[in-house]
């Protein structure tokens, strides 16, 4: 008799509780993000795809000193220098192999010219291994930054989407 009462209790008291749980969750907001259309904001300190910064007069900051390549633990950076019309030193070739890169951010810290940063972009999948070797043209931003990035609390915060898109 006791068992029967227990079973009845389970069916009429405990089981409805379970149903209430699922129904309550039914009305909650889903945690899934509608990904390709809505993107999760990355944290300001996120280390994504690299970009090369410019001076306010649009000349490249990078002077091809090689410190980033020296600092790189994965040996992912390759560069060759040249001189521009004014005789200033700059990079002729500046390549980062993103298949080797471990996104540690040492290059950013090693850079004396504040030229290389790790951005917020994390969508760089491709079907071709060569496509992961990013050249200078692909990483260089199109316009210099308007505000002074160093005065801001999170200096890396910058809308990178669309700025470092590949130039085909």
């Amino acid at each position: 008799m006791n068992e029967v009462l227990k079973a009845v209790g389970n069916v009429f008291l405990k089981m409805p509780l379970g149903f209430v749980v699922t129904l309550r969750h039914f009305f909650k907001k889903p945690v899934t993000l509608d990904y390709p259309y809505k993107k999760k904001p990355m944290t300001p300190r996120y280390r994504g795809k690299h970009y090369l910064e410019r001076y306010d007069d649009s000349t490249e900051r990078c002077v091809c000193c090689g410190l980033c390549a020296a600092a790189c633990p994965a040996d992912a950076i390759y560069m060759e220098p040249e001189e521009n019309e004014k005789g200033e030193r700059r990079a002729k070739i500046y390549e980062i192999n993103l298949l080797r890169c471990i996104f540690c951010g040492f290059c950013e810290e090693a850079c004396p010219e504040e030229a290389i940063f790790l951005g917020q972009d994390y969508e760089f999948s491709d079907v071709n291994r060569n496509a992961f070797i990013y050249t200078k043209e692909e990483m260089l931003v199109k316009h210099p930054r308007k505000d002074n990035p160093f005065k801001r609390l999170y200096r890396r915060v910058r809308k990178v989407h669309g700025v470092t898109d590949k130039i085909s």
Partner: protein, 333 residues
């Protein structure tokens, strides 16, 4: 005569098309509801709220390769999806879907065929639906399929008795087997429009019917015949393309059929105020469908022996008890 045949044919076509459409969007409903219960979003890409997803699915399934493994028994393998599909649709022949209405000057009854043994017809037809599953499992020549079919038969034998007995109470109270008369009995003009619904006269019978109906349609938590975590896909493991989708559709058609029968027997069918009668039936069916999906989102699967025990030792005696109590009340009246 000709007029009658034309009206009947039109009704048949309309009902079948409506059922198939409902089937398609039940899949959407299921995916959405279960997704939201799990904090997901479900299909979103095809159309607004993913509403075109069933069409996309259908297209995908049509264009998939129809694979027939070497070890199958060809004839039964081809027949099985059809056998499981047809009974599900046949049930709707005796479900009254609307009040009698006038259509371009013709008096039309809101039921395809008003059999005087409508309820028995429903049970006869649904009991044939099991053959689709059994034959599919047997003819596939695969271990998983055979296990699924075995489970389906054992489950069906355990549940058919309780299922049949659960509605005896309603039949005793109503004293008729005609679905149309059953619906008409449950109507009421007062503001408490639901006062005559049989669910209030037969609460235990309704609970038993609900439980057995879930088992009858092989739905979670009694979906052992296709238990995807144990048997790959159970009886339809070896099926692909349109043959698979036939099973898929028939599962949902079965759910809809059971919903319609449940709404008719216990919730007054198309009876209801203000709204058109068809909408009332659809609304009640929708509530049943939602409950089905809700159940799937809540309860884990029963174990095989638990289910047999449950069927024989709990549902069957309870159904007998319900029958006896109802008979006593009917006798006192």
């Amino acid at each position: 005569m000709l007029e009658m045949i034309i009206i009947s044919s039109v009704k048949v076509i309309v009902v079948v098309v409506a059922v198939l459409t409902c089937c398609a969007w039940s899949t959407w409903l299921e995916r959405k509801v279960v997704a939201y219960m799990q904090h997901r979003m479900g299909p979103t890409l095809a159309g607004p709220f993913g509403l075109l997803q069933p069409i996309a699915d259908a297209l995908k399934l049509i264009f998939k390769e129809d694979l027939v493994p070497k070890s199958v028994e060809k004839v039964t393998f081809a027949l099985a999806p059809i056998i499981s599909f047809v009974p599900a649709i046949l049930t709707f022949a005796v479900v009254p879907f609307a009040a009698d209405f006038e259509f371009f000057g013709y008096q039309v009854t809101g039921i395809i065929s008003d059999l005087n043994i409508g309820v028995l017809f429903v049970f006869a037809v649904t009991s044939l639906g099991i053959y689709g599953i059994v034959l599919a499992g047997w003819s596939s020549g695969s271990k998983y399929s055979l296990m699924g079919a075995l489970r389906a038969t054992a489950q069906m034998i355990s549940y058919e008795v309780g299922y049949g007995l659960s509605i005896i109470g309603v039949i005793l109270v109503a004293n008729t087997l005609s679905m149309k008369e059953l619906v008409e009995m449950q109507g009421s003009d007062s503001i408490w429009f639901f006062q005559n619904w049989f669910v209030f006269k037969q609460p235990l019978g309704f609970l038993l019917f609900l439980t057995c109906a879930v088992a009858e349609t092989n739905r979670c938590p009694f979906d052992m015949a296709e238990a995807e975590s144990e048997l790959v896909a159970g009886y339809h493991t070896e099926y692909s393309s349109m043959r698979f989708s036939m099973f898929f559709i028939s599962e949902y058609a079965n759910m809809l059929a059971v919903s319609a029968v449940g709404a008719t027997l216990f919730f007054g069918g198309w009876q209801g105020p203000l709204l058109p009668s068809v909408l009332w039936l659809l609304l009640k069916m929708f509530l049943f469908m939602f409950f089905y999906i809700w159940l799937r989102g809540t309860l884990p699967r029963f174990r095989y022996d638990q289910l047999m025990n449950f069927g024989w030792k709990v549902l069957f005696p309870l159904a007998l008890l319900n029958t006896m109590i109802t008979a006593a009340f009917v006798m006192i009246d």
